[in-house]
Symmetry: C2
Subunit: 338 residues, 2 copies
């Protein structure tokens, strides 16, 4: 199989904050012939996620930044359409760091996993059965270590990671409180994701009061996707021995330099609490365990998800900025026509 | 045995920041007769420690604040001089929350422990073999969990807790870097307490640079007694999977409201690091284990200590403020004449 051309989204300029359309360009590139040990993936879904802001940032991060002129790094899911690799066969579905492009030539190293849940939509491999679900699973269960009866507070509670955190916490026997922006998202928290309480941080000019009402015995676990003033409010309500899982910092536009906020040491000291940063890539050796359980919960209807699917690669350049504008209700994906 | 009067230091007014002499008054009180189940302790040493600022603060804390007109809460060590209690005999040495006063009537509940290390000075039961040593022991070993080869950074490194942390870390096979204020204290770090490197934060207008030179592979464990700008500098140098043990916040004059500082979430996230608050009183059931080991290290000459002993109860009112002025070299104690 041979393609004439490959449409790619490349990084054109390095953003200082949230990447905007002007930081990307869409180009047509030739597809090279496959060498031995390579295979060709036709991407069906491209992922869009908050962490991609960090991937293009020059500031210290957990991986090298995407270079100017390079295809934008992203997870994608698709089908192997040609192969000269012994372990990947035509027709297999794969998910990995295949980038914002129609076709990806891979030697297997950028493949996160083969998608085995063929009874479920392939798009889930980029969301609730992908890094989002796995992030929720390990961040909550391994770092937060909830006990039944704990009060678990989640920020960006209706988002792709947050909604999974809330539902897994409920499966673990916890009381769940979601923080989200706007009435649509808090409604989603309560009606779709089963949170026991939901707080609209945009409406709550008294976030502290709303939190203390929702968490009368304090917050045992805070799964933090935002940092910023939302976290400041939650930290004032920690229970003794509370655990703050730092998964993302979506509310902070730039970390160069770090913005100022109220110091946290006294809260942590008085409450013997902990804050721990967490990156899902450290758990790669255990992804299959998590995805097996997550898929079972999805099939049982205990783990629900929302998707925000945009059609066509032209949607990519504004897609990350749109996340930070809070315009999506569910995991944002770009679907490519076959 | 009967005493005519008991000299006490009482809290006269509630400070908003660091307690000053005007917040205390020295009074003569009558000593009541002992009831059944009580005994009388003649205090030989009164303790002075940074945490006492929190004990008189109205802000949220881990214990109720000392009431106005009450004897200032403090640890003290002394001898049982009269007893109507079956478990405490005349002549026994005890350490506990006996307060800033010459004599304390106790029913045993305010006694932390009987002092069994009678071959060593009684004053040590308030320092390296008391809460300071035990704080260093559990904070470093249980919360920080050092591995041989780790780089351990300690703030207030020449202080009563910090000097023990540095030496226990060295016993545990770590590389130790002390941060202290002024050339006398850094000299003490290197010569008395065996730190591999010492940084004078008052001289280092480039604390970041001094830290990066002293910690070329980053900071694995930061034992934080100060919070504030010193901690901000250390957090910029964390190694992957670093642990910050929050033991005290000596550099912060008031937490009502919390002062602003650079947000920490990104450091913790990128480095998968943790910050954990720690209060030694949670480890009461294991004090004897720690003190047995600490006393053995003292006898072996592997755990050294400095004391700053002032004579007479009149030294009490200014003693906490003096700690925060950084004027003491070693554990501050008030010795009472017998």
């Amino acid at each position: 199989m041979r393609q004439k051309a490959n449409t790619q989204v490349r990084l054109k300029a390095r953003p200082t904050g949230i990447p905007q359309p002007e930081h990307f360009e869409i180009v047509q590139a030739a597809l090279p012939d496959l060498r031995t040990g390579q295979f060709l993936v036709r991407n069906e879904y491209l992922s869009v996620e908050p962490a991609m802001r960090g991937w293009v940032s020059a500031a210290a991060n957990y991986s090298d930044p995407v270079g100017i002129g390079e295809v934008m790094r992203s997870f994608a899911a698709g089908e192997v359409v040609a192969s000269r690799h012994p372990k990947f066969a035509e027709g297999e579905k794969v998910m990995g760091l295949l980038g914002w492009q129609e076709y990806a030539v891979s030697d297997g190293r950028d493949i996160t996993r083969k998608v085995k849940e063929t009874d479920l939509p392939l798009s889930l491999s980029l969301g609730v059965l992908g890094l989002n679900g796995v992030t929720a699973y390990f961040g909550l269960l391994d770092v937060g270590r909830p006990r039944p009866g704990d009060t678990v507070v989640v920020s960006t509670a209706a988002g792709a990671v947050g909604s999974a955190v809330g539902q897994i916490a409920k499966i673990a026997g916890c009381r769940t409180v979601g923080i989200a922006g706007g009435p649509l998202k808090t409604k989603l928290c309560l009606e779709a994701f089963g949170y026991h309480a939901a707080i609209d941080y945009k409406a709550a000019d008294q976030l502290d009061h709303a939190l203390s009402v929702a968490c009368p015995a304090g917050v045992d676990i805070y799964f933090d996707n935002t940092a910023g003033p939302i976290s400041d409010g939650v930290l004032r309500q920690l229970a003794v021995k509370a655990c703050v899982v730092i998964c993302g910092t979506a509310s902070v536009a730039s970390w160069a330099p770090a913005p100022m906020g109220p110091r946290v040491e006294r809260h942590l000291l008085v409450k013997r609490a902990s804050m721990a940063g967490f990156i899902v890539f450290d758990y790669q050796h255990r992804y299959e365990q998590a995805i097996t359980r997550l898929a079972a919960w999805v099939r049982q209807g205990r783990l629900r998800y929302r998707e925000d699917i945009q059609d066509g690669i032209a949607a990519c350049p504004d897609a990350i900025a749109g996340l930070y504008r809070g315009e999506n209700l569910g995991k944002r994906l770009i679907r490519l026509p076959s």
